[in-house]
Symmetry: C2
Subunit: 202 residues, 2 copies
């Protein structure tokens, strides 16, 4: 049996999304057609609108509809002198959810990967260099992922910071809070040992 | 941190779909914005189009863009004299995938449920009654789900078939092929016993 072309097209388009397999795609399409056509139209409009209007913050490169995102526009945040470098806008969300960090961000939208043709310019390091040159930043916190590419990127940005006499720090990697030592992988355990800190005397 | 309004709206609209939680919704939205804006626009268009153009087959009530679906339009299918009654268009897909059934379908788009105000008219039994009256159907195969509502609906349609002297049969319920007897629930086991068949002598 051939499904109607529009329905096939919809299921195909849904199936390409992360976390949605062929069965889920079919389930969503039939659910919308059977029970929620209005919701389906709204989702369609939300998609089209978001893909069109959401751009990048000219200051930190995260997603925003304005020229500058809310965080970059806040003078309190700018005055903190802290700048946190992350790989993706979802990292910004994760850090913001802790409620502890009060500085601004810089979103690379990726990491250095010469093999894929991603050099310093592709991840906006020219914009970051301008920021460092302009001054007003006391410390750059490098929060890229602890992968080979993330570490390389962090190292590259640290060099850039030294050039402009700005402190650079790397977030700590080690045993997750609540994690069990024997269940943690070797790489994390190694990081936990090299990153050990002196316990101050009571 | 406040996400941009269009992005929040998109994540909310995705989150309402079956099988997509808040994390998946966020992941899909960011994936589309970061890597596949064109795909996002296409998905939006596919949704809007499907919600608008996909209607019901006037003959069997399944989803189609034409007045009649491919199965109902096939004279070979119509000549078989078999009509299979199912609850939803996904059931049609499942049966078609076996490749064994060569008759037409009738899709109820639900089941009888007086408590929710779903009577015979809401599940199109007036259309089915017309079909039975017109003749040309030798056997109605009742393939509604083995739930209380599904059984009631099957029973109701069987009565209707008797009224017009059309044979009605119910699909077999029992142990799934490859299933283990001690892992099957009591209700299925009971069905397997009541539905037992005489083994013919060799």
């Amino acid at each position: 049996m051939q499904l109607s072309p529009s329905l096939t097209q919809l299921i195909e388009a849904l199936r390409c999304q992360p976390g949605i397999g062929p069965k889920s795609a079919q389930r969503i399409a039939f659910h919308l057609l059977e029970r929620d056509r209005q919701g389906g139209k709204q989702l369609g409009q939300a998609l089209t609108k978001a893909m069109t209007v959401v751009g990048h913050c000219q200051s930190c490169r995260t997603f925003t509809e304005q020229a500058q995102c809310d965080i970059c526009a806040s003078t309190k945040r700018q005055d903190s002198g802290l700048l946190c470098v992350v790989e993706s806008p979802t990292d910004v969300l994760a850090i913001e959810q802790t409620g502890q960090y009060q500085g601004v961000y810089f979103v690379l939208m990726g990491h250095l990967s010469p093999i894929d043709g991603i050099g310093p310019k592709e991840i906006g390091l020219d914009i970051l260099e301008n920021k460092l040159q302009q001054g007003g930043i006391n410390e750059v916190i490098l929060a890229t992922n602890p992968s080979v590419e993330g570490e390389t990127t962090a190292h590259f940005i640290a060099e850039l910071c030294h050039k402009y006499q700005v402190n650079a720090s790397r977030i700590a990697h080690g045993i997750p809070v609540g994690g069990e030592l024997d269940l943690v992988d070797g790489m994390t355990l190694m990081h936990a040992f090299t990153g050990r800190r002196t316990v101050s005397q009571l």
